[in-house]
C-alpha cells in the first residue's frame, strides 16, 4: 500500500484509540466539573466514528490493510473483515454503556479507568502483532481490575478476577513467546511451539470463561459496576486473541482448536443451565454472558464456513443484545437497588419502558426471528450439526436454556404484584435514545443481515483456508474457501 493511501487509515485507527485515551485524560483532569459522562461519551463517539471510517476504508480497498512491522505473520496494524466489523461494534457497545450508566456509578477515577480499558480494547482489535496483542490484553484487563477494586464492596470480585485473569495473561504471554520462538506452523517445529499453542489455548479458555474457568464471569457481574463488567466481557478479547493467534495460524495448532470446539458447546449448555436457577439479575447476566461467548467460540473453532461466519455474527449479535440487557439492568438497579429473581418484583408498574426494552433485548439475545441473533444461531446450529451431531445438539440445548433463563428473568423482575405507593421511574431521554438506537441496530441487522453476513463470510473463508490446510493436508478446499487471502 502506498504511503499516501495509508494515511487516512492511520488517522482513523489512531483516532479510534486516541479518542477514549484523551477523554480519560480529560476526565482525570476534571475538565468537566459536573459529570465525567460527556467527555467519556465524546471520546467513545470518536472511536465509533473512526471505526466506521475504518470499515469504509477497508470496503473501498477491498482487501486486508497492513502497516508496520510484522511478527509471526501478524502486522502491527492489521485491518481485515474481522477488524472492520468488530471495531465499530465494540465502540458502539461502549458508547451505549457509558451513555446510560447511572450518574452515581460514574465517578472520576472509575470513568478514567473505563476509558483506558476502552482505548486498549480498541487498539487490540486493530492489530495482529502477537506481542502487541499480549500487551493490549494486559492493558485491557488492568482497568477492569482497578475499577472493580475501587467499587465499594468490589474487592472480592476484583480478587476473583485477578486470580483467573493473571494466569490467563501469563499463559498468553509465555505461549505467544514460545510460538514465536518455535513457530508450530513451520515444518519441523518442536515441542516448544506445540506447548506454546496449548498455553495460548488455555489463555483463551480462561478469558472466554470456558468451563472450568468460567467463575470469574458471575463473580465480576455480581461485584463490579455494570459498565465495567460489560467492558470486560462484551468485546470478547479472548476470542479476538484466538482469531489472531490460533485460528489465523491453524496449520500449527489444529488440536488446540479441536479442544476449543469441543469444550465451548459444553460451556454454552452449562452456562444456560446455571442461568436457570440464578436468584439475582446480575449473576443471571453473568451466566448468560459466558454461555453466549462460548457459543461464539464454538463457531470460531469450527471447520465449516457457516460455523465461522455464525460465530462472528453471534459475536456482534450477542454483544449488542447483552449490552442492551446490561444497560437496562443498570438503569433499573440505579432506581430500585439490587434485583432479585426468586420472587416476582413487580417492576413493570414502576418502569414500563425499561420493561419493554429489557424484553426486546432479551428476545434479541435468544434468537427472535427478525433480530441478528436469529441469523447467527441459524448458522451456528446448521454448521455444528453438519460437523458433529453432538455439537449441534449441545448448541440447540444451550439456546433452549438461555431462552428460558431470559424470560424467567424478565417475569421475575417485572411480573408480580405492583407496589402502589412506589414512585414511578420514568426512563430518561438519553436512556431512551441509546436503547432505541441499539434496538434499531439489532433489528435492522436482523432484517437485512446480508451485507454483514457477506463481510463476515469473507473473513471466515480467509481464516478457514488456513484451518483447512492444517486439518486436511493434501485435500481440496471447502466450497467457497479462497486459495489466498485478498
Amino acid at each position: 500500500m502506498s504511503s499516501t493511501s495509508i494515511v487516512p487509515v492511520l488517522i482513523a485507527c489512531g483516532s479510534a484509540v486516541a479518542g477514549p485515551l484523551l477523554a480519560a485524560g480529560a476526565v482525570q483532569l476534571r475538565c468537566w466539573r459536573d459529570t465525567p459522562r460527556w467527555p467519556a461519551v465524546a471520546g467513545l463517539v470518536v472511536s465509533l466514528v473512526s471505526g466506521v471510517a475504518v470499515w469504509a476504508l477497508w470496503n473501498i480497498r477491498g482487501a486486508a490493510i497492513e502497516y508496520g512491522p510484522r511478527l509471526g505473520g501478524g502486522a502491527m496494524l492489521h485491518v481485515d473483515g474481522v477488524t472492520a466489523v468488530l471495531l465499530p461494534f465494540v465502540a458502539a457497545c461502549l458508547v451505549a454503556v457509558i451513555g446510560t450508566t447511572p450518574r452515581r456509578a460514574l465517578d472520576v477515577r472509575g470513568t478514567a479507568w473505563f476509558l483506558s480499558g476502552a482505548a486498549a480494547t480498541c487498539g487490540l482489535f486493530l492489530t495482529a502483532h502477537p506481542l502487541l496483542i499480549v500487551a493490549l490484553a494486559v492493558a485491557a484487563a488492568l482497568p477492569v481490575w482497578r475499577a472493580t477494586r475501587d467499587e465499594p464492596g468490589g474487592r472480592p470480585a476484583a480478587r476473583v478476577f485477578a486470580i483467573t485473569i493473571v494466569p490467563s495473561l501469563c499463559c498468553l504471554a509465555i505461549g505467544t513467546a514460545m510460538m514465536l520462538a518455535d513457530p508450530p506452523w513451520d515444518p519441523g517445529s518442536g515441542w516448544i511451539g506445540a506447548l506454546g499453542g496449548w498455553l495460548v489455548a488455555v489463555a483463551v479458555l480462561i478469558r472466554e470463561g470456558v468451563v472450568p474457568f468460567h467463575f470469574w464471569f458471575p463473580a465480576l457481574f455480581a461485584g463490579a459496576p455494570f459498565h465495567v463488567s460489560l467492558l470486560a466481557t462484551v468485546p470478547q478479547v479472548g476470542s479476538y486473541a484466538a482469531v489472531r493467534l490460533l485460528i489465523g495460524h491453524a496449520d500449527g495448532v489444529p488440536n488446540e482448536l479441536v479442544a476449543l470446539a469441543q469444550l465451548a458447546p459444553v460451556t454454552a449448555v452449562y452456562g444456560g443451565a446455571l442461568a436457570l436457577v440464578q436468584r439475582d439479575l446480575r449473576r443471571l447476566i453473568g451466566y448468560l454472558a459466558f454461555s453466549q461467548s462460548a457459543l461464539v467460540l464454538a463457531g470460531l473453532a469450527g471447520t465449516l464456513p457457516m460455523e465461522l461466519a455464525g460465530g462472528l455474527t453471534l459475536w456482534v449479535a450477542s454483544g449488542l443484545s447483552l449490552t442492551g440487557i446490561g444497560v437496562v439492568a443498570a438503569a433499573l438497579e440505579g432506581r430500585a437497588g439490587p434485583l432479585r429473581l426468586d420472587l416476582p418484583q413487580g417492576r413493570f408498574w414502576d418502569a414500563p419502558a425499561l420493561a419493554g426494552f429489557f424484553l426486546l433485548f432479551g428476545l434479541a439475545t435468544i434468537g427472535l426471528p427478525g433480530t441478528l441473533s436469529f441469523v447467527a444461531d441459524d448458522l451456528i446450529i446448521a454448521g455444528s450439526l453438519a460437523e458433529h451431531l453432538h455439537g449441534g445438539i449441545l448448541v440447540i440445548l444451550a439456546t433452549v436454556f438461555s431462552g428460558i433463563a431470559v424470560m424467567r428473568g424478565w417475569f421475575g423482575i417485572f411480573g408480580g404484584p405492583m407496589i402502589i405507593d412506589a414512585p414511578r421511574h420514568a426512563i430518561l431521554p438519553r436512556e431512551r435514545i441509546v436503547m432505541a438506537v441499539l434496538l434499531a441496530t439489532v433489528v435492522g441487522l436482523g432484517i437485512v443481515p446480508g451485507p454483514l453476513v457477506r463481510t463476515l463470510e469473507q473473513a471466515a473463508t480467509t481464516l478457514l483456508s488456513k484451518r483447512h490446510d492444517a486439518l486436511f493436508p493434501g485435500t481440496e478446499r471447502l466450497p467457497g474457501v479462497p486459495d489466498h487471502e485478498p
Binding site: 413493570f348 419502558a353 441459524d378 426512563i427 471466515a460
Partner: protein
Amino acid sequence: MNLTSIHDLVALLVVAQLAAPTLALLAIGIPLVVGRPLGEQTTSGLVGGSFAIAFVAAVVTLVVLAGRGFTPEIVHLGTWFAVGHHEATIDLVADGLSVPYVCFSTGLCLLVNAFARKYLHREPGFTRFFVLLVLFGLGMNLMVLAGSIDVLFAGWEFIGISSMLLIGFFHERANAVQAAVRAFVTYRICDAGILAAGVVIHMAVGSGDFDKLFHGAWPQADCLVSSSTAAIISLLLIFAALGKTAQVPFSGWLPRAMEGPTPSSAIFYGALSIHAGAYVLLRCEPLLDAAPTVGWVLVVIGGGTALHAALVGRVQTDLKSMLAYGSMMQAGLIFVEIGLGLRVIPLVHVVSHAILRSLQLLRSPSALHDRHALAAALGGQPGNARPWLSRLPEAWQAALYRVALDRGYEEMAVMRFIVEPFRGIVSRIDAAERAWIDWLGEVRLRR
C-alpha cells in the same frame, strides 16, 4: 390474463397479507418505543385495518386460485442471508391449504380485534394487547404462507412469543406469571424440534424450500427425500407440534394459559395457536406419507391426549379450564386423523372446531347470564344429559375421579422425574460454585 400476470397478482396479494400486519406493528410499536403511544381508537383501528386488508387480500387470492384449480403459486421474495451453500430463502406459497387457512385466520383475528376493543377498553395494557395481537397475526400469516422452513420457523416463533406474553398479560398476578413461564418453557423445549428439523431439511436438500422437499399440489404432493429422512424430519416436527398443540406429556400449560385476557384465550387456545402444530403437519403431509410408521406415533399421542383431556376436563370447576381441555381433546383427535392419513377432514375439523371454540370462549364471561336467559326462556333449568361415566361401577368412578383431579398424574410425573431432578442437580452445582467464588474472594460478595 396470462400466467405471468396471475403469478404477479398472487405475489402482490400474498405480500399484502404479510405487509399489512407488519406495517401496523411498526405504526404502533415505533411510537411506543419513543414514548408516544397511540390512543385506543387509533391502535385498534390500525390493527383492525391491517387484518381487514389481509383478509380481503386472502379472499381475492382464494378466488384467483380457485379459478385455476388451486395450482400452487410459489412466491420467491429473495434470499434473506446465505453462507456458502446454506441459504435462508424467503419463499411463500399460495395453494389449497395455505390460502383458505389464511382467510380463516385473518377473519378470526379481525373479529377478535372488534371484540377486544370494547372488552379491553381503558385496560392499562390496551396497547400492549393489540401489539401482541398484530404480532400474532403476522406470525400466523408467516407460518401459514411459508414456502420454506425458515419462514415457517419465524412465524412459529412469533406465535410462541405473543402467546407467552399474552398469558402473562396480567403480570401483577403471580398465577399469570407462573403460567406464562410454564408455557414458554414448554414452547422453548419443543421448538428445538422445529429448529433441528430445519437443519435436517437444509442438510438433506441443500435449502429450506418446501418445493425441494415435496412437489405437487396439496394434498397429493410427492415426497422428494428418502423415507428415513422423511421419518426423521416428521418426528422432529411432531415433537415441535406437541408443545404448541398441548399434547401429552406437554399439555400442562394449556389450562393455566387461561390466565390471559379472554379475547386472547379465544384466538390462541380456542382457535389458531392450538392448531398451529396440526397445520405444520398438514403442510408437511408428504413426509408423513413417505414414513407411514410415523403416522402411528401421531395416532397414539393424539388418542392418548384426547382420552386424557376428556377425562380431566370433566372435573374442572371453571368454564375456561373446561373449554381448554375441550380444545386439547379436539386437537388430539385432529392428530389422530392426520396420523391415519386423512388430509381434508382434519382441515375441516380444525376450522369448524376453531370457530365453535372461540365463540364459546368469547361468550364465557357471560356464561351465567346466558344460562339464566336460557332458563327463563325454558321456564326452568335446562336438563343435563346423564354422562356415560355414571354407568360405571362406583369404585371405578371414584378411581377415575381421583385420576382426573390429579390431571392424569401427567404433571406430577413430569415434575417428579424430569424437572425436580434437573433443578436439584443444577442448584447443587450453583451452590458449589457460589461457595468456590466466595472462597476465592475470601469474603462473601455483596450479592
